[in-house]
């Protein structure tokens, strides 16, 4: 099973189904057909990915390891859920939406496997291009604004990444990851790469596009942007920075990431406290979560990053389920307003949706025994193992602050009443419900299966 094509096949299947979507549009314009095709392609890719979950293979361009496969599985799973939840979408040109959904997911799958700056850049750009257009679907002033901001910042970050890549090449004379050099140019390239990918991950000084884009674009698209797209950037950064730490630069890079992560979590949480708009609150909490995600870079230089690397996978699983699910749930309020008052009485009107959303919010707040708690638990445990217990305290305090704004939403859902009707359909409810059940079940299972998350990052280039 070490043929390269076996590993590339899932991504190719996604691309192929993306093209099938385009051709299908010559036959019909009904949304559900395209949704079916996307779900079918997603399931096929999911099965193909499952087949090589234990396989390891690398050449100079790609590195196929279990960590990448788990992340790809998550991306494909979320894509299927999004395609399912948008079953009743009724806008013109549905083929654009679903084809770009498939293509962007396919590119993300390739991106998390890339171990060469050229292939990283190409796949990263391919997925970004697809998401720029997705952000503007369906056509309206609001989504156009979101997409425009996203595009301008995305172009800027791409150029910064290009700068980083060229510095990298000058200092190490290669594009492959895993080579280091002690020169100051190398450090410069790391800073450029960190800033470039930090835009995508919405780290603190580079986060402002994220708020407007996540709020402005349609909720299923926000679900994709705030989870899959972010985790792709995270995986790329881990692949880049995992090698940089044993070569005398670790002190600087670690300090840099410590400062960035503290600012990111604190800023995200404190600003989320005052938001009255739930979607905007979720956007800010997504910035805060980027802070938790970036904690992994502070632990990498420690003596044993194994726990941290296992923990980041667990946190990624939790994050994609809970954040993706919360944004998909917001689709119900898209037409009538997403202010916190608009969620009043959801517990009476749509009990299933309210229950699922509550579980997801509990998970985001880190209440056991949900997956969100387990992710944070193992991440913070790895911080303490890396002798950064004071950073763990800051992270834990941040997590405690966040309880306020998540539970306020629960409060409105269950014990405020309003006569306002809530739009949306059962497909969204079932999508959110499936994610919330997974959050709960995996949260209980994780202590049992954590051993299988050890040593799944293939480190040799």
């Amino acid at each position: 099973m070490s043929l390269l094509i076996n590993y590339l096949l899932p991504a190719f299947v996604l691309f192929a189904f993306g093209i099938v979507e385009i051709f299908w549009s010559f036959l019909t314009k009904e949304n559900r057909h395209f949704s079916y095709i996307a779900i079918l392609g997603g399931i096929l890719a999911f099965i193909l990915l499952l087949l090589n979950i234990d396989e390891h293979y690398s050449n100079g361009v790609f590195i196929f390891d279990s960590a990448g496969t788990i992340l790809s599985l998550l991306f494909v799973f979320l894509m299927v859920v999004i395609a399912f939840s948008t079953f009743r979408f009724n806008y013109s040109h549905p083929e654009i939406f679903y084809s770009l959904l498939l293509i962007s997911t396919g590119s993300m799958v390739l991106a998390v496997y890339s171990s060469n700056l050229i292939s990283i850049f190409v796949t990263f750009e391919a997925s970004s291009m697809a998401t720029y257009i997705l952000a503007s679907y369906p056509k309206s002033r609001k989504t156009l604004e979101a997409s425009m901001k996203f595009f301008v910042i995305g172009a800027l970050s791409s150029s910064i990444i290009i700068f980083g890549i060229s510095f990298y090449y000058i200092s190490t004379s290669t594009f492959s990851l895993g080579y280091t050099s002690g020169s100051s140019l190398y450090l410069l390239s790391l800073i450029f790469l960190m800033v470039g990918f930090g835009f995508k991950l919405s780290l603190f000084p580079f986060h402002s596009w994220a708020i407007d884009t996540y709020t402005g674009s349609r909720s299923p698209v926000s679900a994709l942007l705030s989870t899959s797209s972010k985790l792709m950037a995270l995986a790329i950064m881990i692949r880049i920075f995992i090698f940089t730490f044993d070569k005398g630069l670790s002190g600087y890079v670690q300090l840099f990431f410590i400062i960035i992560s503290i600012f990111t979590m604190t800023y995200g949480n404190v600003t989320a406290l005052v938001q009255r708009d739930v979607k905007r609150m979720l956007a800010y909490s997504s910035v805060a979560n980027a802070g938790y995600l970036s904690l992994v870079f502070t632990i990498l230089p420690g003596s044993g990053p194994e726990l941290a690397l296992a923990a980041i996978i667990i946190f990624s699983i939790a994050y994609i389920l809970m954040k993706g699910g919360s944004f998909i749930a917001m689709e119900n309020f898209e037409d009538k307003g997403t202010r916190i008052e608009d969620l009043s009485g959801l517990g009476k009107k749509r009990p299933l949706l309210a229950l699922s959303f509550t579980i997801l919010l509990f998970s985001l707040a880190g209440i056991p025994p949900t997956m969100g708690f387990m992710g944070k638990y193992f991440l913070f445990l790895s911080l303490i193992e890396g002798n950064l217990w004071w950073l763990a305290i800051i992270a834990v305090l941040n997590s405690a602050i966040s309880v306020y704004y998540y539970f306020r939403v629960v409060m409105y859902m269950y014990w405020k009443n309003s006569d306002k009707q809530i739009s949306g359909n059962a497909y969204i409810d079932y999508a959110v419900f499936s994610l919330s059940i997974l959050t709960l079940v995996l949260g209980i299972l994780i202590p049992v299966i954590i051993g299988s998350f050890y040593n799944i990052w293939g480190m040799i280039p």
């Binding site: 708690f373 445990l381 305090l397 309880v403 409060m411 014990w415």
Partner: protein, 470 residues
């Protein structure tokens, strides 16, 4: 043994039943809670049971009951049974579900033998409590529910950091993760990190207790909740903090800390008593009384830290049990006053004994038990603490006695202004306690009386736990 697991899971199973039982939910819930009470009572003859599964990275299902946790498990079953009997039958079935879920979480807190499991159950308590305050609370319920949540959650997550540090320290010494109570405390670190660990546990337990500078969530929660919830919160949630102190915080045994905790306890007792004197709302006064009594637990553990006085320690432990039985009577009778007269303001009441003789009997009994009258359960606890602490803190004990006098004065004064004295004719003709209010209160009061005269069934358990002879 697997029966213990069944006891733990029984309330969880029962929490689903009231959802589907419609208008019979109260009847069914009373019956179910009685079953839990029966099963718990049977375990009196099987204390020291345990149940353990295989561990994965130090995380396992490890539950047991011992001489400290059994009385609390029993207390939970008794108070939940009484509270469900007391509840108005008009309420939705889901309220009873939350109560059973809370009972499950509390069982978990008291039974778990593993810090990881302990933390999970500790946090799980928040969810039903949050909904119970927020959905069925008084006019300021939104504010109160969030305040309660933030206060206790901040304490809990700091405890999580402490657990992490302990686990990591254990890992560096022994090479594997292990969260069991029997092992993890071998790895208490030294140096500055020691104080971080200590602070995490201290805040978690003393916020939940509550003790004075950290108490402000408690009066709001007790007052804004409906009577049943007040009975459960004041009687049982504060016991989580107390249990944490006796089962976990005691492992630190730091003599320097002893004086700090004793002074905190005394301040708590006196401050809460003065606050209670000043209250115009009867329910709020009872809430402060509850906080004041928790001061005895701080005093007892502080004294134990300084001089290892077992008598004071057992007094504190017995205080948990006695207070858990007494405080629900106070809240229950105040609830009856409110239902019958429509007000809780002390100055609008007066001479209720004329119209409500049963209430007058139970309320007087409850208040006297609360102030520590000999012959009732509260006295045993307070007496043990005061006598046990005399050797250690000598003249400072006068402050404790001063607190007791204050406590007696606000109880008696409140009785005088509400149920004795001339009848306030503006109240008109009012009815006495109705049966659903009277019987659970009577059961609790009889228990207080029995354990006041014959405390040894419970007292001996605590004695065996602390292994002391005095």
């Amino acid at each position: 043994m697997v029966y213990l697991l069944l006891l733990l899971l029984l309330p969880l199973l029962f929490s689903f039943i009231p959802l589907f039982s419609g208008r019979y939910s109260k009847l069914l819930s009373s019956f179910l809670s009685f079953i839990v009470l029966l099963v718990t009572s049977i375990f009196y003859f099987h204390i020291n049971e345990s149940f353990k599964t295989l561990a994965f990275y130090g995380v396992d299902l490890n539950i047991a009951i011992n001489y400290l946790s059994y009385p609390l498990v029993l207390l939970v079953s008794i108070v939940v049974f009484a509270a469900i009997l007391y509840q108005d039958p008009d309420i939705e079935g889901s309220y009873f579900s939350y109560i059973f879920f809370l009972e499950f979480s509390l069982f978990g807190v008291f039974m778990s033998q593993n810090l990881f499991l302990f933390y999970i159950f500790w946090e799980l308590v928040l969810i039903p409590s949050y909904f119970m305050i927020g959905r069925w609370g008084g006019p300021r319920k939104d504010y109160t529910a969030l305040k309660f949540l933030i206060y206790t959650h901040v304490g809990s997550v700091l405890m999580l950091v402490s657990i992490f540090i302990l686990a990591y320290n254990y890992y560096t010494i022994y090479g594997n993760f292990n969260f069991d109570y029997s092992s993890i405390f071998k790895a208490i670190p030294s140096g500055s990190i020691y104080y971080v660990v200590l602070a995490g546990f201290f805040l978690a337990f003393f916020i939940k207790l509550p003790t004075v500078p950290l108490h402000t969530w408690a009066p709001d929660v007790y007052v804004e909740s409906p009577t049943t919830s007040s009975m459960i919160f004041s009687g049982l949630l504060s016991k989580m903090g107390a249990y944490g102190i006796f089962a976990i915080f005691m492992e630190f045994g730091d003599p320097e800390l002893g004086w700090f905790i004793v002074s905190l306890g005394i301040i708590s007792l006196i401050y809460a008593s003065f606050s209670a004197l000043a209250q115009r709302d009867l329910k709020r006064m009872v809430a402060y009384a509850s906080i004041g009594h928790m001061g005895f637990i701080s005093i007892s553990i502080g004294v134990y830290f300084i001089s290892h006085s077992t008598l004071a320690l057992i007094g504190g432990m017995f205080m948990m049990f006695a207070h858990g039985l007494i405080i629900p009577i106070l809240f229950g009778t105040v609830g009856s006053v409110e239902r019958s007269t429509g007000t809780r303001a002390i100055r609008d009441l007066g001479g209720l004994t004329k119209m409500m003789p049963n209430l007058a009997f139970l309320m007087t009994g409850g208040f006297l038990a609360s102030l520590g009258l000999p012959g009732l359960a509260g006295f045993i606890a307070e007496f043990s603490v005061v006598v046990g602490s005399w050797e250690t803190i000598t003249y400072i004990s006068f402050l404790v006695v001063f607190g007791l006098v204050l406590s007696a004065s606000y109880h008696i004064w409140a009785l005088q202004r509400t149920i004795f004295g001339p009848y306030n004719n503006y109240l008109g003709k009012i009815g006495d306690m109705i049966p659903r209010e009277f019987w659970p209160m009577l059961i609790l009061f009889l228990l207080v009386l029995i354990f006041g005269i014959f405390p040894s069934p419970i007292y001996n358990l605590f004695l065996q736990y602390s292994g002391g002879v005095y």
